[in-house]
Amino acid sequence: MTTPSSAGYNARRDRLRAKLGGWSLTTYGILAFAFLYLPILILVIFSFNDSRSVSKWAGFTIDWYFKMIKDGQIMLSVWNSLFLAIVSTAIATVLGTLAAMGLERYSFRGKTAVDAMFYLPVIIPDIAMAIMLLLFFNMSGIGFTPWKVNFFGVKLAVPYSVIIGHVAFNTSFVAIVVRARLAQMDRTLEEAAQDLYANAWQTFRRVTLPMLMPGIVGGALLAFTLSLDDFVITFFTSGAGFNTLPVRVFGMIKKGVTPKINAVSTLMLAVSLSLVILSILLRSRSGDEDAVQMGF
């Protein structure tokens, strides 16, 4: 039986419960974010440690950063990473955008199969893709020969196999991001342009492309980040003697842990962070809410 006073009691109890629930949820949220950030924070802190240890603090120094810059192997791998990311992003952005337009704007027989093919490189684990490409390049005999290039005064030798491997996984990611943008786009402007006797190329160049640009830039930034971050596919498709920064870091970890690795890690962290911030800034300017929610 509910008397008026016990109804009031119940309401108060409910409010108290809701409050407690809210507090524990907030506490949990803070703890979860601490779990995500603490290991990274500790990693950065120990890059400034004045000792070879990465677990016992012995005072502040920036020596490890000097050691990093003086390490020719590390610096070469930085240039390799940059060159690889730029080239593979450029190719993947063109291919991915073409694929997105073809798949989003048209329907034709066999589209489901083509669609599935573009999703596969995203779903398949990188180790499987790395093995596939390794076998392919070995069998076809192309690929491991390096592209010798002078990149801002630094002589690089980047195997074609690695570039192709990076384009192979990046194309799909660019296609997905650009397609999401295309799907949201208002088509009436293109129709208006065509009504005003713009031909297909003019419509594309003057209307579609400018509207699509945020998607293309977003896709390119994603591809660039993925390419810089990739370890597994580079490791297996490069043959001997070619290092990107992550491959170099993996080799260093295998040899032993020093704050120099922490310093390199901090550098890579800073680069990733700037890229993410850049993409968010571009995104917020174009007002693309959904893409932010997708985390791209």
């Binding site: 809701a18 809210g22 949820l25 949990y28 949220g29 979860a32 779990f35 290991p39 990274i40 500790i42 990693l43 240890s53 990465v54 677990s55 063109v94 291919l95 073409l98 694929a99 073809g102 048209y106 034709f108 573009f118 596969l120 490189p121 779903i123 684990p125 180790i127 499987a128 093995i131 490409l133 076998l135 392919f136 070995n138 192709i164 491997g165 384009v167 192979a168 194309t171 799909s172 296609a175 297909a200 980040t225 810089l228 971050d229 370890f231 597994v232 297996f236 992550p246 870091v249 993996f250 970890i253 842990v257 890690s265 890579m268 962070l273 993410v276 968010i280 932010v292 929610q293 985390g295």
Partner: protein, 287 residues
């Protein structure tokens, strides 16, 4: 020619030709090679001999290897469950925040994810190592423990590394599902005197299931195929199927067997993906 140009199918293929040819040559063909290689004999120094052979397929089920596969499956499932248990309340917390803060929290959530995976794994290496890891060193210097805890070189370390690495991709789709949730449904449930728990269990949870399933897929697949995490946190003792596969190419030079193992891994993932699509189409049809 002009009529051809106006034909939509022609236009579609004009756009698709280059990317499709690229992916056929550099993705589908390599996939086919792995398939064909699993039925061949190994060459003496790597490579293959073109002799049909079912031995690799049989060897995959040899307990020595199959047990590693089952253990990888177990690690992937446990990782997915823990990530879900940790990720769901976090997604709920973000979805429950004021609208302006949501975007910031999602951004803060995704920063670690866009940080190099190798580096995030290395961060845990410096924390977990048995004698020199920060956790054991600190606890021992405080006198909390007298012997180092077994934090490294075991399944615990691998699962922790994987949970840490993939937590953000679990949270994101669950958050998206919770954020779309129609709040009038929750109010209706409350008006009908459903308790907090009942409202959650009968309304919120079922409506967030698509996000839960999507997030679980995004965590399960890369966990099953993990290579970096066990290579670094497994300490050379605790291995997963990804490491066994890579050993066939880097160490043992048994390409056909490595191919057969890769096929096994991909088939397991294909099954998971099919279950996922079956499930999502079924729930879409139901709603």
């Amino acid at each position: 020619m002009d009529r051809l140009r106006r034909n939509p199918t022609f236009q579609a293929w004009a756009l698709l030709a280059a990317p499709v040819i690229f992916l056929i040559v550099f993705f589908m063909l390599p996939l086919l090679i792995v398939f064909v290689y699993s039925f061949l004999e190994r060459g003496e120094y790597g490579g293959v001999q073109w002799v049909f052979n079912l031995g690799n397929i049989q060897r995959v089920f040899d307990p020595l290897y199959f047990r590693t596969f089952l253990r990888s499956l177990y690690i992937a499932i446990v990782t997915t469950l823990i990530t879900l248990a940790l990720g769901y309340p976090l997604a709920y917390f973000i979805a429950d925040s004021p609208p302006k803060r949501k975007g910031v929290l999602i951004f803060v959530l995704m920063i670690p994810f866009w940080t190099n995976f190798l580096i995030r794994t290395y961060a845990w290496l410096t924390l977990l190592r048995t004698h020199t890891g920060l956790i054991n060193v600190t606890l021992m210097s405080w006198g909390v423990i007298s012997k180092p805890l077994p934090l490294f070189g075991n399944d615990f370390a691998i699962i922790l590394g994987l949970v840490y690495g993939w937590l953000p991709v679990m949270v994101l789709p669950i958050y998206a599902a919770l954020d779309r949730l129609d709040h009038s449904l929750l109010e209706a449930a409350r008006d009908l005197y459903a308790s907090g728990f009942h409202t959650f269990w009968r309304v919120t949870w079922p409506l967030s299931l698509p996000g839960v399933v999507a997030g679980s897929m995004l965590v399960f697949i890369p966990s099953l195929g993990a290579f970096v995490t066990p290579a670094i946190l497994g300490g050379g003792k605790s291995l997963m199927i990804g490491n066994i596969i890579s050993n066939q190419f880097l160490g043992a030079h048994d390409w056909p067997f490595g191919s057969a193992l890769s096929m096994l891994m991909m088939i397991a993932m294909l099954i998971a993906t099919l279950i996922y699509f079956r499930w999502t189409t079924k729930t879409e049809a139901a709603s």
